[in-house]
Homo-oligomer: 695 residues x 2
Amino acid sequence: MTQSDSQVDVLIVGAGPAGLMLALWLSRLGINTRIVDKRTDKVFSGQADGFQVRTLEILDSFGIGERVWKEANHMIEVSFWNPDENGVIRRNNTAPDNVSGLSRFTESVLHQGRMESFFLDAIAASHPHPSGSSAVKVERMVLPTSLSIDEAAADDDDAYPVTVTLRHLTEEEATPTQRLSNLSDGLFRSNLAGDDVGDMLERSKAREGVHEETVKAKFVVGCDGAHSWTRKALGPDFEMQGEMTDYIWGVLDIVPITDFPDVRNRSMIHSASNGSLMIIPRENKLVRLYIQLTEVSVDGGRIDRSKITPEIIFNAARKIISPYKLDYHYCDWWTAYQIGQRVGNHFSKVDRVFLAGDAVHTHSPKAGQGMNVSMQDAYNLGWKLGLVCKKVMQRSILSTYELERKQIADELIAFDHKFSRLFSGRPAKDILDETGVSMEEFSKAFEMSHMFTSGIGVDYSPSALVSKPREAHQLLNEDKAADLKSDQDKPSNGVDSILDLAKNCKPGMRFPSFQVVAQAGARPWQLHHKMPSDGRFRIVVFAGDILSAPRRDLVNALGAWLAEHVLARAPKMDLSPGADPHAGTMRFKTDAAPSAVDVLLLHNSKRLEVEILRDLHETYHPFDSKLGWDYDKVFVDEESYHNGHGEAFKGYGVDPGKGAVVVVRPDGYVGLVSSLEEDGWKAVETWFERVLKMS
Amino acid sequence: MTQSDSQVDVLIVGAGPAGLMLALWLSRLGINTRIVDKRTDKVFSGQADGFQVRTLEILDSFGIGERVWKEANHMIEVSFWNPDENGVIRRNNTAPDNVSGLSRFTESVLHQGRMESFFLDAIAASHPHPSGSSAVKVERMVLPTSLSIDEAAADDDDAYPVTVTLRHLTEEEATPTQRLSNLSDGLFRSNLAGDDVGDMLERSKAREGVHEETVKAKFVVGCDGAHSWTRKALGPDFEMQGEMTDYIWGVLDIVPITDFPDVRNRSMIHSASNGSLMIIPRENKLVRLYIQLTEVSVDGGRIDRSKITPEIIFNAARKIISPYKLDYHYCDWWTAYQIGQRVGNHFSKVDRVFLAGDAVHTHSPKAGQGMNVSMQDAYNLGWKLGLVCKKVMQRSILSTYELERKQIADELIAFDHKFSRLFSGRPAKDILDETGVSMEEFSKAFEMSHMFTSGIGVDYSPSALVSKPREAHQLLNEDKAADLKSDQDKPSNGVDSILDLAKNCKPGMRFPSFQVVAQAGARPWQLHHKMPSDGRFRIVVFAGDILSAPRRDLVNALGAWLAEHVLARAPKMDLSPGADPHAGTMRFKTDAAPSAVDVLLLHNSKRLEVEILRDLHETYHPFDSKLGWDYDKVFVDEESYHNGHGEAFKGYGVDPGKGAVVVVRPDGYVGLVSSLEEDGWKAVETWFERVLKMS
């Protein structure tokens, strides 16, 4: 055995969607990062496929959303089919698959492997960062074998308290034994399959010259799936809690040859006695079928896996969809799974080792949540780790990861529990049939679930990062309040949001996007496009009519105040040359690194009567001695020349007569809503004092 | 000297935007193609930068439009500045830079090197074509040294009548002597610089072991710029006609440090006595300045190039923009040019060797036309060559290249002649100043030019490919009519369009795009996205209300008729796996190659009451034994769930009560507008009989 030692800021275990999202964040922030995966390559077919609208917004903030949006099938409509009085399936209802006005995106479907490719491309294209970190590369066929934390050093900002041993496998050792060919390995990675890490270790142990290295890391993140090695390495205190059901479902990705009329809609079919089928229309003429396997029984917790074959699954689908005919020539993938909901009891250990994605929550795939919630775990964690490594943000903020994401996992499990039981249940025969599921009940539950499944409904609890209004704190249940770890994490961070000022910018929820017009150049933009995931916090000043002299004076006084009390005190932060996806590669460097806090201004005066340099304080058009003034911080809520009116003040729920100041976190969630008037300014400063390492 | 021989369908000389556009077309069509360039690499800064809306539509049809659209600066607004009564420049007017409603794109700016990268990426990503052709690669440092055409074989479909000798250069031989560094080579590639091919040949001639090869080609296309070697090789009959002016202009690409308030608008500044300046706001904080050099004189046709330096150009800009201050830290590129307009007298020789782009038209760059018209030359030629090589289309159609593109070049030259004189002229001192250019005159000319500069105004003359209505033929002037070469090319192709049926689908002009809703799946689409550049002709059936029984019967009878008279008789054509950019890579192959003619249907019945398989003839949902029915050919003009109403019938100018049948060429231009009624069907068949190799 050969041996070597090294040191890294963040070590990511697992290169699925969660691990890759984290690696992308960290490479954009210029953090010294490694990402290892035990497998030989990425996923080429099957697995997850659903993209929720919030996920698309997040991917768009990194400049890769449009690749998914372009290739994916956009799922627009859903059909519900139920047995009629003769037991024959009939279309009962057709409805939109998305809530209107929630986002500029709609739910979309594309297989996980394409997503992984987009991440890999974006990580590879990450330009040399001014901080000098080298490009992140996925190291495949690498398996961790031990992990320890020097807890005494956990509170030292400069320490590398986590030690991990990594073993480098050969291709043969890294290839799972059950993975023979694409079609015969349907149960590979299913929750009906066992963990294969033991096998891998066993096979590599005997080899002469096996290479192991010891890595010392500031932080380690386990994105290593349902059988998470990292979770197990953290000891018996870390466990998955929840239960499995007796429901077994099969999955087929096929190009269907069928006369079923709604095969390009999302369709929910409850048959009279053969179980349920869900159709998910996919990219590339594929559809995914989720098929209830009523004939596979769970015998005392054991399932006879030999009974689960593509033929059995396909025949079950044919029975459910009858009298329509179903056939196929191409089958891209198949699998089966047992429905169950489990969630980890801890998401981190001493805020030095973290768990994300399937490593801390597993559930049924039919609502298309898994990959989304996993990527969003990593999206929540990435900037926090990055800004702590850069010493821009206080380390205590890391405790908000578990606070925020365990809450979401719990909500997901509760949702899935309800939804999968409704869908696996027998359809009601008539109105008196109480054990059956009525179509009305199901349609209603489906509709209610939109806000949750879209990801837009996420509403994080109060913490140093989320200042809720005073009355909202009182709604917090006792348990959650007790969970908050330090004085600093107490609800409201010592400052209260004033919800009325920006009714649709809710602290803890994502800051929405509306079209605004650039003051300089008149281009219409989604405001999200001016808030890319570059690691910066943003103060959005809803200025109202800046051509009214008192308002202009107030807004400029705020600018001067922010310059002195926030921007000058906040740490500076070099930006990645690829940080703004809509600027291409930023080839021209600033003379001085910008502040970690960025200020955007939205007004509603007549654009042609405003001149940025003449009318506004320099906080709203910062000067750099190499690049001149920045003209890209001031926007107008007015009709664009060719793209209509974004009605942004209305959309954000801000009365232009009052204005508002909204603090947005680097992940796009609202931290604080405060007043444009002088009495609201201090809250902004206090908010940042609790979060950043202010000078 | 070593020697080798080979054979190729199409040899492209020159890998600038025109050559790369052609290479992309041919690789999508699976044509055996080579592309050679004498330079060592692509352009990294400077050169062309303007993207007109039609160009963006074309790039989008290949799936690369959104890369330009995302990185480019969208130019939305234009400001006009003129001297006031004291000779101080003042903003005189501000106006939109684009005509509203013309296209879903607006004029955009990005440097040519990025465009070349996008082409190279797209060509490299061209998947192995079913026809078995290998991927196209740009061969750099390759210079043609001789060209001959065996004219006796020019009419033989299977012949390779063009022989070209190619010399492979070393890097040193291929590096132009005047290209020393980025900033000192400002006049490299300017029209003030001489041709360097002679130098290159001289340098390589002496070398021992220089490698030459003889290539026999079906077709050769010279996309080799203003000094076109190919044009010269065609002999003295091929000449550029036109004149140079005495106006010299400089160009600077800088990141400006300025208090000029409109620096992020397109700005036209006429100073009182220091000449004119145009500001083009660019991507990446750059702006391009076009600066009139009033102090550089043209002495008897000779220009003292040593007087043209970045300092002189910058100082001229400072004087024009005064009293505003102008400075910079970053300069990305500079050059200078002499205004002139020249156009080639022939665009092809025996339809075996063709010229495209700067090789046949040069003019001043300020209207942002050069790269666009060049790419559009190649876009016009690419599918014609490709379909002739595939024996799908009749070879005689190739004569439409010169007919269509020489017309556009002539219009471009006339436009540029007028525009550049207006812009280089001295501003009028007052209303009585007749030799000066008044602001009103200039603004008006600028506005009038939009339709032309957008590229949307292109209106090709009648030919086998363009059936104008009968009355329109009479407007054709005698000269053009005499130019038409064969009986078959005569106006109207023996069939007449009926303009009234589709008022905004004008034969010879591009088929516009409106949002429609997919019958299956309810997704809103731009109809252009269902007409990608895959080499197929399209018949768009404007069906109206197909739930009315007589109309449905008529539409289905048309479907049966088209199946027999057009689809079955048209050649079959394998599609590239990347042919539909919105489907990702088409991984699943059809059992049978589809027809070269594709049929799309647009109706305006209630979508939820229509079922494709039940209500429509199979022509509108073709069946493939491996892929099942195609659900992607039927669209509705109705309100979408989340994206409003496309009002497509209105947009296309079709009365749903009457309906229409429109034939669209593979490049998106309208070929024929005919009637939905039985009396219009025959025109469609006749149109295709004149164009395709029908069985």
